[in-house]
């Protein structure tokens, strides 16, 4: 919505070029310059499976307010080339007023992009870069984008200097010349797409990815050991943790596979250190056996699953919410555990920290379901508040005189845990059904008592009001619709609710952060009085909807919008669903 003519509170742009052209670097520079100029924003990337030479696009949305997700339509597309455009062009439709700046050698603008012919211009980025010694076309693109949206040369150069100064003054100077040259090419467009001044904020702001945020939140929660096996799109969690843990007295070990990484963290946690691993769907599938072990032997662990398209190897670089079933129901036997999901990139910090707290407090496995759209998005967020949640196990202090029962039946189901080194606390942790001491047992009463205990500790725990983000402060009472989502779908849904609010349609949000255990009472309380509820999820089969139906009778009229990746469900699709419902 333009406040003044040709000025916008949010601008979306994409820089497109085959892998190696530097499109992603260009996008990162623009995002960082916008951050230092006081704006908010998010950058996602669209990349093919190739390491070099495949398609790559930096998708950047800048705004004068906090944003959690991309916009559907793009205001500015800068194409160094259109190689493999058929694979991604449908992800970035052009807004009516949108501009396309394309290198003359890049090829035809793909028809999927749309837009008006009068808004397509040719800029010879590659030739201009060649005229500058050491020049690169992606820096020309940075200059063009900066001039159009209103980023100053100084703000860009601060970032470029920081990024390139290690390579020497000549490289920085070449970058500056390219940016100045790029800015000069777009003089006739500089009044068309100005970004409005940012909202004033006193709090500090951070630039962080979802994967970094998960790692940071986990360390904040007390994680001091990690085991790692690389997998797209989760590797960055582990790569962030490796140096971070060594700075705070912890360690990360690279494992030979996911079977090993999860067993390593069970071992480390048995030794008394809060422990974590991160993976994606294929790795989670391998970890399921040991998740059962952690549950049965009551050793706290945190497993992060940054979901991608499935089944099997699926689409590694694209997002989906389709690991919900395996996260909740994957284990054989009855194995109650925790499943949580962050609701935004900034919430990755809180939810990871909370997951550590829950796992440690209840001595069980906690799975955190992030996804590619959160994990690999780089976002400008407000500096997170301090949260008190810190790993705190109920520990057995040791006494050589008494018999220690590791799996003692307690009222809250949580039994004091002895840490190796504690005299008198020796026990054998076991995946076999065991008695209170931990000795293998196949008696009916031991099996039942231990089942009851493990179920009780999770069912009766005080989760506070963190199980979901609920409501819409604009329309506290009497909303027309409710939208029920989990995890990353909260972002586009919040945006959709804002858009609908501008049209006078009041919508309440229920975004679930705690998926398992299912808290029936607060869930039904949150939906009380909701006559029309839309459930939104990014799966082909409707896993979330099926899960909710298996847990309780949903009140009122229910509609269900779900589809698989690779393209993220966007705010506009959700808006359309509610509009259609209203008009039907």
């Amino acid at each position: 919505m333009p406040a003044a003519e040709n000025s916008y509170e949010s601008i979306s742009l994409a820089i497109i070029g085959s892998g190696g052209a530097g499109a992603l670097t260009a996008g990162a520079i623009i995002l960082e310059a916008a951050a230092s100029s006081g704006w908010y924003g998010i950058m996602n990337r669209s990349v093919g499976p190739q390491i070099r030479g495949g398609e790559a696009a930096a998708l950047v949305r800048l705004a004068n307010h906090r944003v959690d997700c991309m916009n559907k339509e793009y205001d500015l597309l800068i194409a160094i080339d259109w190689k493999n455009a058929e694979r991604f062009a449908s992800e970035m439709p052009l807004a009516k007023h949108g501009l396309v700046l394309s290198d003359p050698t890049a090829g035809e603008v793909p028809t999927e992009i749309g837009g008006l012919q009068s808004n397509i211009a040719s800029v010879a980025m590659k030739d201009l870069a060649k005229e500058i010694p050491g020049g690169r076309e992606n820096m020309i693109a940075v200059g063009m984008a900066a001039a159009i949206i209103g980023l100053s040369l100084e703000s860009i150069m601060d970032i470029v200097t920081a990024k390139l100064s290690k390579k020497g003054g000549e490289v920085v100077e070449a970058g500056r010349k390219c940016i100045v040259t790029g800015m000069a090419q777009v003089a006739k467009f500089t009044d068309q797409l100005k970004l409005q001044n940012p909202e004033k904020t006193d709090a500090g702001r951070w630039l962080i990815t979802g994967n970094e945020a998960v790692g940071y939140g986990a360390v904040r929660g007390g994680i001091r050991f990690a085991a790692a096996y690389p997998i797209t799109p989760a590797t960055e969690v582990l790569e962030w943790l490796a140096p971070a843990l060594s700075k705070v007295g912890g360690a990360l070990v690279q494992a030979e596979d996911e079977l090993s990484s999860i067993n390593m963290i069970i071992g480390a946690s048995f030794g008394g250190r809060a422990s974590i691993t991160a993976t994606s769907g294929p790795g989670l599938a391998l970890m399921v056996e040991a998740l059962g072990l952690a549950t049965a032997s009551e050793v706290p662990i945190v497993v992060v699953d940054v979901m991608r398209g499935g089944p099997s190897t699926g689409i590694p670089t694209k997002s989906e919410q389709s690991d919900l079933n395996i996260a909740i129901h994957g284990c054989h036997g009855d194995a109650p555990h925790i499943v949580v999901a962050p609701l935004s990139v900034s919430d990755c910090i809180f939810t990871a920290q909370w997951a550590v707290y829950l796992a440690e407090a209840m001595q069980t496995a906690a799975i955190l379901l992030s996804d590619q759209s959160l994990g690999q998005a780089r976002v400008i967020i407000d500096k997170p508040a301090n949260i008190a949640f810190f790993a705190k196990r109920k520990i057995y202090q040791g006494n050589r005189e008494e018999t220690y029962n590791r799996y003692a039946i307690t009222a809250d189901g949580i039994s004091p845990m002895a840490i190796p080194g504690t005299p008198g606390g020796q026990y054998t942790a076991d995946g076999l059904t065991h008695n209170v001491r931990g000795a293998p047992s196949s008696t009916e009463s031991d099996h039942r008592d231990q089942h009851d205990k493990r179920e009780r500790k999770i069912a009766n725990f005080d989760y506070g009001d963190h199980w979901a983000d609920i409501g819409n402060p604009d329309v506290d009472a009497g909303s027309d619709f409710t939208i029920l989502v989990w995890g990353s779908m909260a972002g586009p849904t919040r945006e959709a609710i804002h858009t609908l609010g501008c049209e006078g349609i009041k919508v309440k949000l229920v975004a679930m952060r705690l998926l398992a255990p299912f808290l029936k009472q607060p869930f039904l309380a949150a939906l009380k009085g909701c006559d029309r509820t839309l459930i939104v999820e990014q799966t082909h089969s409707g896993q979330f909807h099926n899960y909710l139906r298996s847990q309780c009778d949903l009140p009122g009229e229910i509609r269900h919008f779900h589809r698989p990746g690779p393209h993220l469900i966007g705010a506009q699709e959700i808006v359309d669903q509610i509009r259609d419902w209203k008009n039907s």
């Binding site: 500090g204 962080i208 001091r224 705070v248 070990v253 079977l259 071992g267 250190r273 190796p420 026990y427």
Partner: protein, 277 residues
């Protein structure tokens, strides 16, 4: 080495009161006895020792000790023990396995545990059969050994665990016979003291499903040569002997995997700077 030092702990301090599930005559009884004796000689408090295992007859050992124990899932004991030792370098970590658990389902972890060279001792009780599931061929079983699951034998060459360990970088390699308790005790103690990843294969007869292995007490013989620090020489000896040669075969000098984990709340501001705008 202080193997003869008087220890403040007695054998009873390392034994639990749980009765083993093993068959009468099982070689694993002797292994348990040797472990207990080695721990007495080591002289470390039971609470500072962790015994980790997977699944199978031999993997039942942790609960029969009075140390901290972990009876985990099938084949993953080395991974679990590795995480424990990295997180808690102060503990003495023993890993107990069998030929099925350690070389078949756990084969990949075996290779990488040797490579990683974390300071712990890996004991594999090799009886060349899956005993707990009642007699199926394992990776070390002879190719013509007949069974219900593989009638007429598997026809597959047996696995050479000691050579694989050498090729993968294990820092200490030995073979003993369970019935020779003194030799096994001394070898285990040396293995525990040796830095890095120590691998001890214990020939431990399964008298129920491999009654032919009762003959092992007559066919094992002590290695007639001194241990070497040259893995190629050690491998050649192992490949050319009859598989019944016992003794310490290899002592390496590789630096153990080094890391350290402290239990501290930590000042996280050092991590936050990278995010600040």
């Amino acid at each position: 080495m202080n193997t003869h030092q008087t220890a403040p702990f007695k054998a009873a301090d390392y034994k639990s009161d749980i009765t083993p599930i093993w068959c009468p005559g099982c070689g694993d009884f002797h292994v348990l006895m040797s472990i207990t004796k080695a721990l007495v000689a080591l002289g470390k408090a039971p609470e500072d020792i962790a015994v980790v295992s997977g699944i199978g007859c031999s993997s039942r050992i942790p609960a029969y000790t009075n140390c901290y124990g972990f009876h985990g899932v099938h084949g993953r004991s080395l991974a679990l023990a590795g995480g424990l030792k990295v997180a808690r370098p102060d503990l003495t970590v023993l890993v107990m396995s069998g030929d099925g658990d350690g070389f078949s389902i756990g084969g990949n972890h075996f290779l990488h545990a040797c490579r990683r060279n974390i300071d712990m001792t890996y004991v594999v009780m090799d009886n060349r059969v899956y005993g707990m599931t009642k007699g199926q061929p394992s990776p070390t079983t002879e190719p013509d050994w007949d069974s219900a699951l593989s009638p007429g034998g598997t026809g597959l060459s047996p696995f050479h665990p000691l050579v694989i360990a050498l090729a993968s970088g294990a820092n200490f390699v030995a073979r003993t016979f369970s019935g020779n308790i003194k030799d096994t005790t001394n070898t285990l103690l040396e293995a525990i003291h040796h830095p890095g990843f120590s691998f001890v294969e214990i020939l431990s007869p399964c008298v129920t499903f491999r009654p032919d292995e009762k003959e092992w007490k007559n066919t094992v013989h002590t290695a007639s040569v001194e241990p070497t620090d040259d893995p190629a020489r050690a491998a050649r000896r192992i490949m050319t002997d009859d598989g019944m040669n016992t003794g310490i075969l290899y002592r390496g000098h590789r630096k153990p995997y080094g890391t350290h984990v402290e239990d501290q709340a930590g000042d996280l501001s050092i991590l936050e700077k990278q995010f600040e705008i």
